[in-house]
């Protein structure tokens, strides 16, 4: 039995059928990405997997137990950072640490929060409020907050969505490093609209077809050694194969709605992320 299992999951909002027949398994320590077009139901799928929303249909289990609420061992990075604007970067992270490690001393809380903020390179800007930080810095705070609770499972919703290519690249590497440096297996499920990002970080990638009633493609494994360098992946044979496979799935998914324009991968990869 796999660590996380989604079996035949379906979710509708009123008459709008967002997901139907979604199956997904994650092994412990695995990094899995889901790519898909905007508004195809990626966030809905991730929130359901995390236990933040209940599906109408199907079952979700983590470690063999049915998921009914957000797990104590999980972290979630929201699509729009979701930092509390009245707290400084440091206070945002410390709040998470305090709530997770309730038996720690005040000093331990402080040290843990500072440690992770320094890890993402925010040591100097710790006392600033989110509205005084750039988009990339806010994203770093969100990442620090997620990792500072030392989770076993990470749910990441387009964690680098609103960033420029350069910052994106830096943070992708940082995320990859953090996952490997955790000293314990970190299972991660990431949503992205950027296929290259998925290839860089994942063990397996799935494509979510365009809704309504979106389903997942079979998984495409990425058997590239780590650490991976994003510039090398561009022409790597294996990476090219993965890209093509995903493109196939994403365009096949649209056959059910012929009237709609076919989503092509280039467009999806370049799509300007929409704030939820």
């Amino acid at each position: 039995m796999s660590f996380i299992e989604l079996h035949d999951v379906g979710k509708s909002y009123g008459v709008r059928n967002v997901l139907s027949g979604v199956n997904l398994t994650l092994e412990e320590g695995e990094f899995v990405s889901i790519v898909g077009a905007s508004a195809s139901g990626k966030t809905t799928l991730l929130k359901a997997a995390a236990g933040l929303i209940l599906p109408d249909k199907g079952t979700i289990t983590m470690g063999g137990e049915k998921v009914t609420d957000f797990s104590r061992e999980a972290s979630f990075i929201f699509q729009n950072y979701s930092l509390l604007p009245w707290l400084s970067a440091y206070e945002n992270v410390r709040l998470a640490v305090e709530a997770t490690f309730t038996d720690w001393s005040k000093k331990q809380h402080q040290e843990q929060a500072e440690k992770y903020l320094q890890m993402v390179g925010l040591g100097a800007a710790m006392r600033k409020r989110p509205n005084q930080l750039s988009g990339g810095m806010r994203q770093r705070v969100a990442i620090a907050r997620a990792f500072a609770t030392e989770p076993r499972v990470m749910f990441l919703d387009e964690p680098f969505g609103a960033l420029d290519a350069l910052t994106r690249g830096t943070l992708q590497q940082e995320l990859s490093t953090l996952c490997r440096a955790a000293g314990r297996p970190v299972t991660a499920l990431m949503i992205t609209n950027n296929v290259d990002e998925a290839i860089l970080l994942s063990d397996r990638i799935l494509a979510l077809s365009r809704g309504p009633g979106a389903t997942l493609s079979p998984a495409v494994p990425v058997n590239l050694s780590r650490p991976r360098a994003s510039d090398l992946l561009l022409h790597d044979e294996q990476a090219v194969r993965v890209r093509n496979r995903l493109a196939e799935f994403l365009s096949a998914g649209s056959d059910r709605n012929r009237s709609k324009p076919r989503p092509d991968l280039q467009a999806i990869a370049k799509e300007i992320p929409v704030e939820a």
């Binding site: 957000f70 979630f76 929201f78 979701s82 509390l84 709530a99």
Partner: protein, 255 residues
């Protein structure tokens, strides 16, 4: 800078226009209405010695204002002490809302003049009756705004609270309260404005010393310039209170 100077000059012009109209009315239309100059002549004793106490109802304008302000403060704090938690409950619990919203809508439009006699029957003294009336009339903007604020907390912040597994107390102090604070202060500002409106009515009816009580007494003694003095004082104090609350409100919004 240029602009604010212009605004200030224009507001002075407006003041002069109204003053001119007042003079015109007192000279040509209503001979009983004292002109601005006569008003000043007859009431300067109250203004120039604002803290002088000559008798129960014959005191400097500073003292009178202070009595009223003190009374308003008590009623206002009573109002927000009840109104804020009530607003939170109404905003957070749909059941509670359905239960009490109709009653609140019914109580909200009742005039202070209607509550005061009830207060007098209940408490048999003018002071608590006045507080009762102020609190009951000025509470509603706080209740409604707090409720709106709680409802308007972005789902994102609630999700954060859930994902971080915050305890109920932490959820309240770190998410709900700061998210609602700007709305609460809008409510407080409006409540204070109403409290100041109500105090005049309450003092007039109960005859207690204060700006409103003074106004009513001078009406009974037919000293019209003192009525005008009271009216001007009420306006200036009300304006100042509103500005102070508005300032606090803006401070919170920029956070």
């Amino acid at each position: 800078m240029q602009n604010s100077l212009k605004t200030f000059a224009l507001s002075l012009v407006g003041l002069f226009v109204v003053g001119g109209l007042w003079t015109f009315l007192s000279l040509n239309v209503a001979p009983d209405l004292p002109s601005p100059w006569r008003t000043w002549q007859e009431s300067k004793i109250y203004v120039l010695n604002p803290w002088e106490k000559r008798g129960e109802m014959d005191q400097g304008i500073g003292l009178m204002t202070a009595y009223s302000l003190f009374r308003v403060a008590k009623g206002f704090f009573l109002a927000i002490a009840i109104g804020t938690p009530l607003g939170f409950l109404l905003g957070a619990s749909p059941t509670f809302f359905k239960m009490f919203d109709p009653t609140i809508q019914l109580l909200r439009p009742i005039s202070p003049l209607a509550w005061l006699p009830l207060g007098l029957i209940l408490f048999r003294q003018s002071e608590p009756a006045a507080l009762f009336t102020i609190a009951l009339c000025s509470m509603w903007p706080t209740v409604i705004n707090t409720m709106t604020g709680v409802r308007a907390i972005p789902q994102d912040y609630l999700n954060v609270a859930r994902v971080l597994r915050l305890s109920p107390w932490k959820q309240f102090t770190k998410v709900w309260l700061p998210a609602t604070l700007p709305y609460m202060f809008t409510g407080y500002r409006l409540s204070l404005g109403i409290a100041w409106l109500v105090i005049v009515a309450a003092e007039m009816l109960t005859g207690t010393p204060g700006v409103g009580g003074f106004l009513w007494q001078e009406y009974n003694s037919l000293i019209y310039s003192h009525i005008l003095l009271s009216i001007l004082t009420i306006g200036v104090v009300g304006f100042t209170l509103d500005r102070m609350m508005g300032f606090a409100e803006n401070k919170l919004r920029t956070v």
